[in-house]
Symmetry: C2
Subunit: 281 residues, 2 copies
């Protein structure tokens, strides 16, 4: 598979890394970056993340075969619809948003023609760092990308997006947008809120006594606040259920500890260890 013209909307960590990875794989001739800041876009061209740039979305997608929307979650639906309207009819449009249901729905509601060639996507890769300066050509290597096609999506469009991610070393899994959002609420959005609450609950004067355990457990709390507020708000209901489930687990631990119930405490910690060990290091 080879792309003559790919457009990346939002040249940050994910968009910039995708540009780099596509170029390294040699599967794209032209990579147009669309962004708001002309200076940053020039820098991205200079660093080889994209081959050309524009601040005009419609202009940027006009000749695209493939458009990847890498904007913040709360702007993806709008950017995807604009890309679908302004790109050639044969172009496929996908995104990399951390939530899927609201984005996929927005496209489906807009029109059947647009829904046919839109494939919701989410590469499970990232960092608490942000911006094109942190872009890496191996960000997607051995990562999982979830695709969320619907009954309206053209199977050929899905296949093309599958090949796109495979060309940069990732594997893809397809599921319903709702299922994606339920799973990610648990594996990604909940950990972020937990890390933030843990960091917030620790007085800063105690930090000189924080070891690697605290550092690891709270690392993602330093992620971009606006980005995470948008994700949490967009995935509110599944996230609320995940929080409640976590609260119940922690409350079980608290009650065991308060009641000096060593056996229950041990069994709860064992369950945590078992789940963590199942992932590997």
């Amino acid at each position: 598979m080879h792309w003559q013209s790919v457009t990346i909307i939002g040249v940050g960590l994910i968009g910039g890394s995708l540009g780099l990875a596509l170029r390294r794989a040699g599967v794209a001739d032209r990579i147009v970056g669309v962004g708001r800041d002309a200076k940053r876009l020039s820098e991205a061209v200079r660093r080889g993340l994209i081959t050309q740039a524009t601040t005009n979305l419609e202009e940027g997608v006009a000749e695209a075969e493939l458009v990847v929307v890498c904007s913040p979650v709360d702007r993806i639906a709008d950017h995807a619809l604009r890309a679908l309207r302004a790109s050639p009819r044969r172009a496929v449009v996908t995104d990399v948003g951390s939530t899927k249901r609201s984005i996929v729905r927005a496209v489906e509601r807009y029109g059947a023609q647009e829904a046919r060639r839109f494939v919701g996507g989410h590469p499970i890769a990232g960092s608490e760092q942000r911006g094109a300066a942190s872009a890496r050509d191996d960000l997607f290597t051995c990562r999982t990308v979830v695709l969320t096609p619907t009954a309206r999506t053209d199977p050929k469009a899905v296949l093309r997006i599958k090949r796109l991610w495979e060309s940069v070393g990732a594997r893809t899994v397809s599921m319903k947008a709702e299922q994606h959002d339920r799973i990610l609420a648990s594996t990604s959005h909940l950990p972020h809120l937990v890390a933030a609450a843990l960091a917030a609950a620790t007085p800063t004067r105690y930090l000189e006594f924080a070891g690697t355990g605290w550092a690891d457990t709270t690392r993602i709390a330093s992620g971009d606040v606006d980005l995470w507020v948008a994700i949490a708000m967009d995935n509110r209901k599944p996230l609320l259920r995940a929080i409640e489930k976590f609260q119940n687990q922690l409350e079980r631990l608290r009650i065991a500890l308060a009641g000096q119930d060593t056996r229950s405490l041990k069994s709860a910690l064992r369950k945590g260890k078992k789940h963590r060990d199942a992932l590997g290091s």
Copy 2:
């Protein structure tokens, strides 16, 4: 400072790393390891963590100038008292336990002579790994070691333990045992329970969609369960207060999310980010 004879009781990650680090620094001639498993002790001698070994604690401390008790938290007080009784009167005894109040109290209650030459200690260094096989000679480099002397402790003994840790690259801070336990409840014991609850709340079938965020946030949950049950039980009251404080923070986040209160959600995530950023990466 130079030690002719140091005894390390418990040659695991911490004890083994201390042996290695003392030898690398060239500040100890003889390092006697005391443990229960003769085969593992021979392996530790072979790997150079200790210079000789015995399974008999009393025998192991009989000629010691310095005894460092590196046993699991729930055995430290007993091992420290046995070491104080069986070691020469000029020997200094210290420990590396993750909790301090109960250990220091046990020694104080035992007798004034013993309390004079015991210095409670806790190097804030470690790993979710365990055992002498993970020992590293740089485990204490640039780490903080908390010392918890009391009014009864001989200031000369405190100074000798301070020099001990400095010789392996650590810095020391002295405080009351109760203050240590309150701080570590927040910076170490609470994160462990939170990580365990988070891991336990995540269905294992979701793990294929867990990214680096989940992995970091739950990493310490794979630590040794018995060890952590002992720590949690020993530091029960400060830990219960830390859990409640965390629960309040998380509940604030949950309420903000449930009520679609973007401003409160943002302010809570900002506080978490601010605290995390204060630590650095």
